[in-house]
Chain length 383, copies 2
């Protein structure tokens, strides 16, 4: 094992009017600290904060912002960024810090406050993740994932009904998650009749724009029992990249960075994925849950849509994918998403996930993606 | 020692018209790689990139951008940010990565392309580093450092002539540095007669807006001799924070985060600062070189201005401060500055600094600051 996670917390996700990222962070942090009453905040040696964009709140230096909010100044506090993978990058940074011996206990934070801005501004801020030439030519995230979807349909025979099923499943899971942004169940007909955003993707194929924060406390394994009897363990971790420009990629229907990150993380964890019963993966668009289920090896290449088609990714299916509701329903405050995935896994592995609890889950995988599979961070967890 | 630095490189700093940060990075990287012909780029395990703002080039994901530019995809590549301390944070991240055992060789990169934007846009992007209430009330960087200067003048008797002497020294040093943004010598009269930006700071008390990039290769100490006989060693490293809001600070004339980072780094290095003969410190404004010389312990509290007044910080003075010309003359492409400091120290400790070479320098200190002393990273180097 690399490190232990002794606590985690998450704000309610959604359109959190009149709350800044600072306050959303505080909400997540308070829950987190309440789980570990023996932890004095002065024992936290450093803070890593993932946030995607400085546009939303006209703010950089989120490391300082977070540290100041909860009295961690003068500790080291640093922002990390990799678009929507910022949250998992913050966790990765905290893990590496503890592994290096620099600190015993480190706080990882993800934050984003998006809904106070217009959709135009959010779209513009997200487009900054793309390659310059592709930005100029108008490639937005929905259009990028639409191309991936078309490629997958063409090569492997996936259908818009398969994509819709991902949305239906994740909305069902979200309806069981009191912190989810969208808690409304929907039908396949709802998805198929929703407005086309970028064909074949419709409104319900797209994750919402959300506000939120999630946090986790990383601890040197030898010290974890001082704070909790039910820490979860990070067994493996890896990050990988692909080209920013899609024009440089060989196969739009294959998320290569995700596949590499997943393989490496499992190698470090010395385990194969058949043991994994839960995966929180980056379903910013429904097609991406299918692509990532292939990259993670839950399905063979080109057969990810068969998993959802056959109901194998539902809670207590062969592999429970996105029991939290995923980005699709739990919500997608970009910089917070990676740690929101970890929060769900933290609850699930401790048996605290309530109505959406997956039974007999000993191992879990998180896949958080920034850009269009441009940077991916994978973590493998155990009890 | 923590790690070795086996190579470094820096672009020419300045107004680099028609070049993007990608091309400036490539310039720095090529110099860096030419110093270590035995290093195959495939041996680089990860990349950390410091950049301050996404505004200048409408770009996030600089980790990917850099990795893609020089063929490092699919390696892990991550952006870190702490305003103008982003460069030293990238180095710190690379060091921690190697210390953790994750990778043996890691590339640290700093980049910023600022001059293609108007001064208004740059000012606005920099103000995002401040506390929200202070942003709204119009506190720009020059006005913040002006308040610090006034406080120091009032408490300790420093004068505008002392500040001017910092500018004159650093312009002299810059005139000896062929990669400096400003290579023109100036007089005290030039400084005092230049336009007031925020009293007592005049135009020549302020560092310029620059484009540039700097890089360093961090290596596990045991492997360094495979690549070079003249690696430099990182002996100590620390980061510390202060509150974002100045209204929360007790003493505007005391950079507390810098003092803590410096003390901790020296403690880790197990050395006292009397051995240090070279310091590259964050003179974004002339007053700050004085404040940081106190924080680093080169002068007692309240006596930093006496060092410059008595000429003790000139090249081959008691302590050579900013032999590169500092931010003031070498230039200040925000995210690159921390690694530009390291590049200078790399040259100096190897005896490759040409006309500005400090004699018998075995140890050196770098202090890189983000925001108004809100986050500071300190590194102590030896040969």
């Amino acid at each position: 094992m690399l490190v232990s996670i002794i606590s985690a917390g998450m704000s309610k996700m959604g359109k959190r009017d009149n709350l800044s990222s600072r306050e959303l962070f505080a909400e997540a942090y308070l829950e987190c600290m309440q789980r570990v009453p023996n932890l004095d905040r002065k024992e936290i040696g450093a803070v890593y904060v993932g946030s995607q964009s400085e546009i939303y709140e006209h703010q950089i230096m989120y490391g300082n912002m977070v540290a100041e909010t909860v009295g961690l100044v003068p500790k080291a506090a640093i922002r990390v960024e990799g678009c929507a993978a910022a949250g998992a990058i913050a966790l990765r940074s905290a893990i590496i810090d503890v592994m290096s011996g620099l600190h015993d206990i480190v706080l990882a934070v993800g934050i984003e406050k998006m809904t106070a801005q217009s959709t135009e501004i959010v779209t513009d801020a997200l487009m900054a993740a793309s390659e310059p030439l592709e930005q100029i030519n108008g490639l937005t995230f929905p259009s990028i994932y639409a191309m991936m979807a078309v490629e997958h349909m063409h090569r492997y025979g996936s259908t818009i009904e398969d994509f819709a099923k991902v949305a239906v499943k994740n909305h069902l899971n979200g309806s069981l998650n009191p912190k989810a942004h969208l808690q409304k169940q929907i039908s396949i007909a709802d998805v198929l009749s929703s407005k086309v955003v970028a064909w074949p993707l419709k409104l319900y194929d797209c994750s919402p724009i959300s506000d939120g924060s999630a946090v986790a406390v990383v601890c040197k394994p030898e010290l974890a029992t001082k704070y909790t009897d039910s820490a979860i363990q990070v067994l493996g971790m890896a990050a990988a990249t692909d080209t920013l420009g899609l024009y440089n990629r060989k196969d739009l229907s294959w998320p290569n960075a995700a596949a590499i990150a997943c393989t490496e993380a499992c190698k470090i964890a010395k385990m194969d994925l058949t043991k994994v019963k839960i995966a929180e993966v980056h379903d910013a668009f429904t097609i991406n849950e299918i692509l990532l289920s292939e990259a993670a090896g839950f399905a063979e290449k080109g057969k990810g849509h068969l998993l959802i088609r056959e109901g194998e990714t539902s809670i207590n299916g062969k592999i429970s994918i996105n029991p939290s509701g995923g980005l699709k329903a739990r919500g997608h405050p970009t910089g917070a998403t990676g740690l929101a995935q970890v929060y769900e896994i933290f609850l699930q592995l401790r048996g605290e996930a309530g109505k959406r609890q997956v039974s007999q889950a000993d191992y879990a995988l998180a896949l958080n993606e920034g850009g269009s599979d441009a940077v991916v961070v994978s973590h493998v967890f155990g009890r």
